[in-house]
């Protein structure tokens, strides 16, 4: 559970068609154990920013530090969950997938197995420890991916639209589950989403990004008590306010 400091981070992509702006001058401070959502229009640089924090991309300018230590590449202080269901290793069972990070860390077997099972219980998949990913539904696969990212006990969890490809009902269940998991583990979470209701449901603070240039537009604090009720008036007010920041019509339809 470490604080994260993001300072003046910029990155441009070099493409055959010229330079494409990824993110421009992004600065965010995130407290330890805080849940931060990043929302913004498509192409504004949310994934780019997350990949920089994860250490997959090096920023052109600026720096990021986690718990005071500067980020120079990927590291085991961060767990990453992608949108793509294919992120799991198909040749490993659910348990094998969750054990991977522990293996890399050198945790030996009775202990490794115990921790991996514990993580699968946390995401309510204890009955599916020996299933291969292709026998699991999309939602279950994403839960395995979350358990896998948590298993080696990183202090930070980075998630890029992990539930975007799920149907609305499954997504609601997954959001509730993630809120529970977060309450129990108290990780610092950075969560990218397109979904306004999802951001209001999960976040302590929502970072709103704008496109052209991809930078922080506003930061909105969500002060609702947890567990949150998506049908309460306060929740809907927050949703409206956030949509306003995003430039949506506030009395119009949700997307």
């Amino acid at each position: 559970m470490q604080p994260i400091a993001i300072r003046d981070v910029s990155l441009n992509y070099d493409t055959p068609g010229g330079k494409v702006q990824g993110v421009t001058n992004v600065s965010i401070d995130i407290d330890a154990s805080e849940f931060v959502c990043i929302v913004g229009p498509s192409g504004c640089g949310k994934s780019t920013l997350l990949n920089i924090i994860a250490g997959f991309l090096a920023p052109a300018t600026g720096q990021i530090s986690i718990g005071g230590k500067p980020v120079t590449g990927h590291g085991m202080d961060r767990g990453v969950v992608f949108q793509d269901f294919a992120q799991l290793f198909p040749w490993r069972t659910a348990l094998g997938n969750v054990s991977f990070g522990l293996e890399m860390k050198g945790v030996a077997n009775p202990e490794r197995d115990r921790i991996a099972r514990e993580q699968l219980r946390l995401v309510k998949l204890e009955k599916f420890t020996d299933s291969f990913p292709h026998h699991l539904s999309g939602g279950m696969q994403q839960r395995v991916a979350i358990a896998r990212a948590l298993a080696y006990n990183p202090s930070v969890l980075l998630m890029d639209e992990p539930f975007a490809a799920l149907d609305a009902m499954t997504r609601d269940d997954m959001q509730r589950l993630l809120a529970d998991v977060w309450k129990e583990t108290r990780k610092t979470v950075i969560y990218v989403t397109h979904n306004v209701a999802e951001a209001v449901y999960l976040a302590d603070r929502v970072v709103v990004m704008s496109a052209h240039p991809g930078t922080v537009k506003t930061v909105m604090k969500i002060d609702l008590p947890r567990p949150r009720d998506p049908l309460s008036v306060e929740f809907l007010d927050c949703q409206k306010e956030l949509m306003g920041h995003l430039g949506h019509n506030t009395n119009g339809a949700a997307h």
């Binding site: 992608f82 294919a86 040749w91 990070g101 291969f132 292709h134």
Partner: protein
């Protein structure tokens, strides 16, 4: 259960088509259109086969052929697999070997038999080398394709979990490329099996299934030739369906990395 039922049904269907083909052959053989020496009936072939199995000669021939093919095949895997991986990981290796493989792979191994005989004489060295030649390129080529097709998200995920180069290689790249690696082995074995029989015809001195066939022509022993062909077909079938089939079922099919044809 349903899987087993499907397998039984496909076996019955396979058996049925073999039976129809055999009946057709038998009808032609018995029609008297061709001399019986040249087109022996199935009972004749079977009795020759049983005789050769009973006195052990067929086993000995099969043993020599298997020895040569497996020797060459294993050698081809030992060379082709790392070569394919190195090609996929290091552009320089790829630039050097890819044109070489593209140029050499289409040359039938048969065409090299006389040359290899000049260089290595008659015997096991030549036959094993022909097998090696036939099998190495498909092995390397498929492995190369497989490693290149490993999903980058697996590498990212593994990297994020602290995998070093060594673990990345053994725990992600090899299993990730396994559908292609198994296909490579299948193709390599098929070419090796074709190659070994051809090489034995010309370049083996007194043992081997290919040699039996070639030797039998001296005495017009069509029944011996056909008996040897049955054994060649049988062993090839066993490897394709049982050995590689089981390997595939135990790995990439179980992992859902290849689609299984239904029915």
């Amino acid at each position: 259960m349903t899987n087993n039922q499907q397998r039984t049904r496909s076996m019955i269907r396979g058996g049925l088509s073999l039976l129809v083909a055999a009946a057709f052959y038998e009808a032609v053989a018995r029609s008297g259109l061709f001399p019986a020496v040249l087109l022996p009936t199935i009972p004749t072939i079977v009795s020759t086969l049983i005789d050769m199995l009973a006195d052990g000669t067929m086993f000995e021939h099969a043993f020599f052929t298997l020895y040569r093919v497996l020797f060459g095949f294993v050698l081809a895997v030992i060379v082709g697999l790392p070569l394919g991986i190195l090609m996929a990981r290091f552009p320089r290796v790829e630039h050097f070997f890819l044109p070489l493989i593209s140029a050499l792979m289409p040359i039938p191994s048969f065409a090299l038999i006389p040359l290899f005989m000049l260089w290595f004489g008659i015997g096991n060295v030549t036959t094993v080398l022909i097998v090696f030649y036939a099998a190495t390129f498909p092995m390397a080529f498929n492995t190369w394709s497989g490693v290149r097709s490993v999903n980058p998200i697996w590498l990212r995920a593994a990297g994020a979990m602290g995998a070093d180069e060594n673990s990345l290689f053994w725990k992600v790249i090899i299993p990730g490329a396994s559908p292609f690696i198994i296909t490579g082995m299948r193709q390599a074995f098929l070419r090796a099996w074709i190659g070994v029989v051809g090489a034995e015809m010309i370049a083996a001195s007194d043992w081997g299934l290919g040699w039996v066939i070639f030797d039998a022509k001296e005495f017009l022993n069509a029944d011996v030739m056909l008996a040897a062909l049955v054994v060649i077909g049988f062993i090839g079938f066993v490897f394709e369906r049982l050995v590689f089939g089981s390997l595939e079922r135990a790995t990439v099919q179980r992992w859902g990395m290849v689609r299984v044809a239904k029915g």
